[in-house]
């Protein structure tokens, strides 16, 4: 393997942008495994009503709802993190101040979008 390696994590000073970079991978990884839930949902539908009842009971429990809440947050966070990468891809937003602002927007925006989505859900 002649691939260059990243400098070790411990040499970096802590910054919000560093945390958001890790969070992008963690939310991505969580969403990766969350696709199992979507697959189980479709499979239960295809298998028949008694299986769908089991699925909706599990997902409708408080822990199931908490997982769905977490997934929607991970989706919004990962989407904003991705948009941040698109800004960098077009060669903009590399100033330290902008990088910090983008990290803050990702963090706050993800939480805000999740709150708005579920508020609308419960109001309508």
């Amino acid at each position: 393997m002649n691939k260059p390696l990243s400098p070790h994590l411990s040499i970096y000073k802590f910054k919000l942008s560093l945390l958001m970079s890790i969070a992008h991978r963690i939310t991505g990884g969580a969403l990766y495994f969350s696709m199992i839930i979507f697959m189980f949902f479709l499979a239960s539908l295809a298998l028949g009503e008694q299986y769908y009842v089991i699925f909706s009971t599990v997902i409708g429990s408080w822990i199931g709802k908490l997982i769905i809440l977490g997934i929607t947050w991970a989706i919004f966070h990962h989407m904003l993190g991705g948009l941040r990468h698109f800004i960098w891809d077009i060669g903009k937003g590399f100033e330290v101040k902008t990088v910090d602002q983008l990290a803050a927007i990702t963090l706050l925006g993800g939480v805000l979008l999740t709150l708005i989505y579920w508020l609308v859900f419960f109001i309508i």
């Binding site: 697959m39 479709l42 769908y52 891809d89």
Partner: protein
């Protein structure tokens, strides 16, 4: 890198852009399905547009997942044998998701 890094980069971005409109569809599903009966949900997924969007969601999410996890694996696993195993497991997981979702959708 197992394949061309440039190709990986471009495919990663294409699937990422496509994920945004698909995400709106997913948020619509999460919004509407909880209050519905089994028959209601089944007939929803039998509608051609919903079926098409669900298949698109499955394939685009799965492809984006494969690329993203591949990048994480290549960044953190350097020992050749483990790297190959991890990449294989990634492909197996993503294949199961694609087959499971597609088969379920088409047998509804």
């Amino acid at each position: 890198m197992t394949h061309s890094p440039t190709r990986h980069f471009i495919l990663q971005r294409i699937t990422a852009v496509l994920n945004i409109p698909i995400l709106i569809f997913l948020l619509y599903l999460i919004f509407t399905i909880p209050g519905m009966s089994y028959d209601g949900v089944t007939s929803l997924f039998q509608k051609p547009l919903i079926l098409f969007l669900s298949l698109l969601l499955t394939f685009n999410f799965a492809f984006h997942m494969k690329l993203g996890m591949q990048m994480i694996i290549e960044d953190y696993i350097h020992e050749n044998k483990n790297l190959k195993l991890a990449l294989l497991l990634n492909n197996i997981f993503v294949s199961i998701v694609i087959i499971g979702c597609t088969y379920s959708l088409l047998t509804l």
